[in-house]
């Protein structure tokens, strides 16, 4: 790989970009050959442009988004962009795999269910948009949307990205650092106001749990599984063990933690 990779991590130049979209920071870290080239700027712009398009299709906050119009019966699924059917299919699969703990049809105060695909869209959109960055030769990236990210290192000998896991009881501090060479990291928990995760089966917020971090190969599924586990509260660890090929860190409301897999010699991530 390029000469940058043989330097120590502290000397290695990391180029960063950040933009706010969909109410969250989209952060990018780049290192290697194209970290600071016009090609990288172009790839970053492509990522942002695509995420803007995704927001116009899937936003629950925009009255005129495609999925809000679909939910109101103003559009048929066949009239929507193909991405809508793809996201709905993922949501239905996630609902099945989680026994209903994850759903893209969330209960409302008036007793109906509204279409809210945002639990699928964030991870799916970032994973999809990351293809623009994967096209940069000999360049490593870590692309995060609101704390859920996909990491990629082109060379097996290059250092892992070091991902700090926020302490849900004190977000100014970290509770763990996870090295991820190539893979996805997603955390679900008690976010800021107006964004409370509830169990779709009961409409209730979970008890006893503060956050769930899932590390896996796919950000779409790491993000879905973190959310599905979190809303199950005390059952989070048991349920995550039914989902193979994941590592996870659960922080409980009392500050204790559970790591999965529990056998520390067993790691799914290189």
């Amino acid at each position: 790989m390029s000469s940058a990779a043989v330097q120590g991590r502290t000397e290695e130049r990391i180029r960063r970009h950040v933009e706010h979209l969909m109410g969250m920071p989209i952060s990018l870290a780049l290192r290697g050959r194209h970290a600071a080239t016009p090609e990288a700027d172009e790839a970053w712009q492509s990522v942002i442009n695509e995420l803007r398009e995704v927001d116009h299709i899937f936003s629950t906050y925009r009255d005129d988004s495609i999925t809000n119009r679909l939910d109101r019966g103003e559009l048929m699924l066949e009239e929507c962009p193909a991405e809508v059917a793809e996201v709905l299919a993922l949501g239905n699969e996630a609902e099945r795999l989680s026994g209903g703990a994850f759903s893209i049809r969330l209960p409302t105060d008036d007793g109906r269910r509204r279409l809210d695909p945002s639990g699928v869209v964030k991870g799916w959109a970032i994973e999809r948009a990351s293809r623009f960055l994967a096209g940069l030769d000999e360049t490593d990236f870590c692309l995060s949307a609101g704390g859920d990210m996909i990491c990629h290192a082109t060379d097996p000998s290059s250092p892992a990205w070091r991902i700090g896991i926020e302490n849900p009881h004190d977000p100014k501090r970290l509770i763990a650092v996870v090295p991820v060479h190539s893979g996805a990291v997603a955390t679900s928990g008690t976010a800021h106001r107006g964004d409370h995760l509830v169990d779709p089966r009961t409409g209730q917020r979970p008890n006893g749990i503060a956050s769930v971090t899932v590390i896996g190969t796919s950000l779409t599924w790491a993000d879905i599984d973190a959310t599905a586990a979190y809303v199950q509260g005390p059952d989070a660890a048991r349920w995550l063990q039914t989902r193979s090929r994941h590592s996870a860190l659960i922080v409980w409301a009392d500050g204790t933690t559970t790591r999965l897999p529990q056998d520390p010699t067993h790691s799914y991530i290189d």
Binding site: P25, S144, P171, R173, V177
Partner: protein, 39 residues
């Protein structure tokens, strides 16, 4: 896999994963500190 519990101050990290990483709290967040440091 998960190294150890560390304080943010001593951690050499590239990105932050957490449920409160929203634009509302961004300015004061650890992620903002990282983003700023790299430019």
């Amino acid at each position: 896999l998960i190294d150890e519990t560390v304080s943010a101050q001593s951690a050499d990290i590239d990105m932050v994963s957490g449920a409160t990483v929203t634009s509302d709290g961004y300015v004061q967040s650890l992620q903002a500190a990282l983003d700023e440091a790299g430019i």
